[in-house]
Structure formats: C-alpha cells, structure tokens
C-alpha cells in the first residue's frame, strides 16, 4: 500500500488558520490501511485541529468527508458540493489524491495533511515496512524475492556492503534485517549461491522517477 503519515499538527494549523471553513478529506483505501487518512483518522484529526485552532484564537469550521478513493475522478466528483462551500481543502490522502483534488477543484487551495513516504506492507498490527520503491525495473527475480532497492539502506544491487551485523541486521539500523543477508541465506537454501557471484546487469532507472514525469498510454483502453 501507499504509506503516508500525518504532517506535524503545527504545520497543518499554519495552513488552515487563515480560512473560515475548510474541508478535511480522507481516502478509504491505502491511507486508511496505514491509519493516516481513512475515515477514523479524518474524524480523529478534525477535532484535534478544531481544538488546536480554537486554542490559538482562530475560528475555523472544519467539515469532513472520506471518499472510497481519492485517486479516481468518479469518486473525487462526490466532493463537488462540499468543496464549493469551503474556502480551502486539506487532504489526508496520498500525494495522488491531493493532486486530484487540486486539479478538480482549482482554484480552491488544497493542502496535503500527510507526507506520502513509502510503499509498504503491514508486517503486523501497528507495524509497516517498506517493500518497494517503484524503481521501474524490478529485480526481485534475481534477488530471491527480496527488494534491495527499498530494503537495503544503500539500495545496493550487488550486496552485502560488508557492514552486516553479526545478528544479521543492517549496519544502519539494528532493528532492520540486512536484506542482502536474507538474499544470500535464501540463495544458499535454494542451492543457487553462485547466481549472486555475477555482478547484476546495469539497471534501467529511466522507467522510474529518473526518467522524468511518468505517462503511460494504453490505446486498447482509451475511449
């Protein structure tokens, strides 16, 4: 899932305090899964913001709405009426949702309420961990299903770096597995350690953010 976290509340207050009425908009998909921007989080953040604003002497009315998805136009349209009645919008969806609202409701000011920071899996209740960095040239087939881009602190394609702790943890963070240690262990288990001896092919980074703004066209799906 796309992972996001609330921005510091002081930062949100600074953005909201000039307005009379604001819509706080959530998304019930990824950001709900990571407990940052679903309905529950919207209904948590809204009273907090109201209390903080009032405490600082600002009277801002905050109304709320949570869409099933903030990254699909059909759902975004559901906010049209509420958006027309407010002076600004704060979205706690990922950056995609924020931009969708900014585009649809231009020139209404739209602010992000969260920082979108990773593509994660929920390892267990209350614990999320990065799994993919959307690099555009997946190497999982050569790394035994472990992503060295998102999960190695140095994003090494040919690891380990030499700093792996005796515990098998990364030298950068003792709470995190050295992913190259896991890759090597799995290679041994499968009797394929020699496959790691060869340096990896040059990776094509142009299919990710390094290649400029992404734009994909599928003619068969176009109207």
């Amino acid at each position: 899932m796309i992972f996001a976290e609330w921005k510091p509340i002081a930062e949100l207050i600074e953005k909201l305090k000039p307005y009379k009425k604001v819509l706080l908009a959530g998304c019930a998909t990824c950001v709900a899964e990571c407990a940052a921007g679903g309905e529950k989080e919207v209904e948590t953040l809204a009273p907090l913001l109201r209390m903080a604003l009032q405490k600082q002497g600002h009277t801002v009315e905050i109304v709320t709405a949570t869409l099933d998805k903030q990254c699909e136009w059909e759902f975004v349209e559901q906010l049209a009426e509420q958006a027309a009645e407010v002076d600004a919008i704060m979205s706690v969806a990922c950056g995609i949702g924020v931009q969708a609202l900014a585009e649809r409701f231009d020139p209404k000011p739209v602010y992000p309420g969260v920082n979108t920071s990773a593509l994660t899996i929920r390892e267990e209740a209350g614990l999320w961990a990065g799994r993919c960095a959307a690099c555009g040239d997946c190497v999982l087939g050569e790394t035994f299903g472990y992503c060295p881009i998102a999960r190695c602190a140095k994003s090494l394609l040919n690891g380990p770096c030499g700093g792996t702790r005796k515990s098998g943890k990364c030298e950068v963070n003792e709470d995190v597995d050295c992913i190259w240690n896991l890759i090597v262990e799995r290679a041994y288990e499968r009797g394929q350690i020699e496959s790691l001896a060869e340096p990896k092919r040059t990776k094509n980074w142009s299919n990710s953010g390094h290649g400029g703004p992404k734009r994909v066209i599928r003619e068969d799906l176009r109207q």
Binding site: P47, Q54, K55
Partner: protein, 146 residues
Amino acid sequence: MSNRAEQAKQGLEIVVLYCQHGICDDAKASAWSQDAEGMYVRAVMMPCSSKLEVPYILKILESGADAVEIVACPEKSCKLLTGSLRAERRVEYIRGLLEKIGYAPERVGISRKLAQKPDELIKIAGTRADAVRSLGTNPMKTGEQQ
C-alpha cells in the same frame, strides 16, 4: 446562561466511559448523569473498553467536557482478554495527541478496576477531576484561548 456555562460555574464536567462487564447487574444503565461535589459526571456504559475509539474521546473533549475517564476491567478479568489493554494503549495515544496540540494529557485517563457500583464510578471521576482542576475548564467550553 447556557447549561454548559452553568455547569462550568458549578464545577468540572467529567465524562466516564465504563465497561459493562465491570459493573454489577442491578446498576447497569446505558447512560446517566449526576451532580457530585465540585463536578458534574456524565457516565456512559460501553459494551467493552476495546470499543473505545480515538475519535470518540476527542469529540467528547471537543464538545467541552473537562476530562474523560475510561473505566476498564483489570487485565485478568477482561472478557475479551486484551480489550482493556487495547483501551489503555489508545488512551496513551490520545494523551500524546493532546500534548501535540498543547492540551494537558491529564484530560484523559484510564482506570483498570472493577467499579461495581455507580458510587465507585463517581469516586473515580473525582480522582480525574482532581487531576485536572488546576488546569481550569476546557477552553472548548468557554471559548477561551490559553
């Protein structure tokens, strides 16, 4: 003068949310309120303290209550095993959020004990009231800035 303003004058408004499993059967009531010394107590029975949701507590404070006390079962007698533990963690989380907006975390508390009778709930509410008395009334009630 509004009811709220009158209450504020009379004393603190303490909301007590208590687990239905911790109260004796003949004292069970979904919601009740009572004036007590220096405070006005509003009590609401919950099916289990695990049902405690973060937005629910914040909305009670937003609506002007001076403090919220959750009365959950002791660890070993929780019917849902980890219900009261979860409630405790959520209370900690809420207290952290309150600190972030400059509100005293003492405005929310949790007691993990079996309060068999309403009198005991009032006593617990009194302890919470004592913890927040020096803070004064909730600024949301009076419209004050701090």
